[in-house]
């Protein structure tokens, strides 16, 4: 259940950011999570909600945008969306494929009131 430590990292980053600005409250935290990360959005939400109880983030909404796994074939140079974790190039059957996206685990932005 590493989602708890990931939630804790998110809270640390947001707290640091909030200290830089004169913030009254944080309405929303927007995240992007790639399908290739081993992070379960529901578990992350659960971890976040447990940690922010009785803190200034208690009523903050966590919005999670998931990103698909996009590959690019090293041999035929064509791009494709990886479906069902099949990383073999659908155009030329090559197994030499770079991952362009899908590994994201990012805080995109926060919505605040000053």
């Amino acid at each position: 259940m590493h989602e708890l430590s990931i939630a804790s990292s998110i809270i640390d980053s947001v707290t640091k950011e909030v200290k830089k600005h004169d913030v009254r409250s944080v309405y929303e935290i927007k995240l992007r999570i790639g399908e290739l990360t081993a992070v379960v959005p529901d578990s992350l939400r659960f971890g976040f909600e447990s940690l922010v109880k009785d803190t200034f983030l208690e009523h903050t909404q966590l919005t999670i945008e998931t990103s698909k796994i996009e590959g690019e074939c090293i041999d035929c140079k064509r791009g494709f969306t990886v479906e069902n974790f099949n990383f073999i190039c659908p155009h030329c059957s090559s197994k030499q494929v770079d991952i362009i996206s899908g590994n994201e685990l990012e805080i995109l932005s926060i919505e605040i009131e000053k």
């Binding site: 259940m1 430590s5 995240l31 073999i88 494929v97 990012e106 805080i107």
Partner: protein, 219 residues
């Protein structure tokens, strides 16, 4: 209401420490692997065999991570491991870069050629945490399902080497070697694959030869 753009990796604090570790390891010319698997696949057995079979001129440091107890570290020391450090995570399901940073303070890095990090037995959580390693080695055993690469795609995709352990038990299980190879290569077409039995020592020479080659390429 105002929007503040952050665009920052959630684990950037871990990644910063991992990058520093990677620089340190490169400076000292140490080849570093991070071994991951389910509990009970044989990580510690593979390490016992590795310290026994590796040429003694290769100075090997081992960090043995466990949720509780220092049993794994003790086993590896008993098998002949000279530089072994335990990390007891006290409940955490993965090692992180800060734990490794603390642990390597106990090693004389100038002396080391190889550092093996034995992660906590878990095929999910450790895949998110960069430890500054050169590569991840994922281990699975023939008493598990041969569809494991499909069930844990993140870990298998993010690893460079796969070791299939307990091949001596193949006769007793429904595990199919060609099936696991097919599944693993669907996730990761560039996998280097080894088949080993730590009981009979079958296949260990190939593993040791590969490790030795990697160490000499690094040093």
């Amino acid at each position: 209401m105002a929007n503040i753009l952050i665009e920052k990796k959630v684990l950037s604090a871990n990644d910063t420490i991992a990058s520093k570790l990677r620089e340190t390891f490169q400076k000292h010319k140490i080849f570093v692997i991070n071994i991951v698997s389910s509990p009970g696949s044989g990580k510690t057995s593979l390490l016992e065999k590795t310290v026994q079979l590796l040429n003694k001129n290769i100075q090997t440091g081992i960090i043995a991570g466990d949720v509780q107890t220092e049993n794994d570290a003790k086993r590896i020391q008993k098998a002949g491991g000279k530089f072994v450090q335990p990390i007891e995570t006290g409940g955490s399901c993965h090692l992180d870069a800060a734990m490794i940073e603390k642990s390597i303070a106990h090693f004389d890095l100038d002396k080391l050629d190889l550092l093996i990090i034995e992660n906590v037995g878990n095929l999910v959580c450790p895949s998110c945490y960069d430890l500054g390693e050169d590569m991840k080695v994922v281990l699975l055993s023939t008493t598990e399902g041969d569809d494991k690469p499909l069930k844990y795609p993140s870990m298998f995709r993010n690893s460079s080497v796969m070791v299939i352990n307990k091949t001596d038990l193949l006769y007793y299980t429904d595990f199919k070697l060609d099936e696991v190879r097919k599944n693993a290569l669907q996730i990761n077409g560039t996998f280097e694959i080894f088949e080993t039995s730590c009981k009979t020592s079958d296949g260990l020479n190939e593993w040791i030869n590969w490790l030795t080659k990697k160490v000499s390429e690094t040093g």
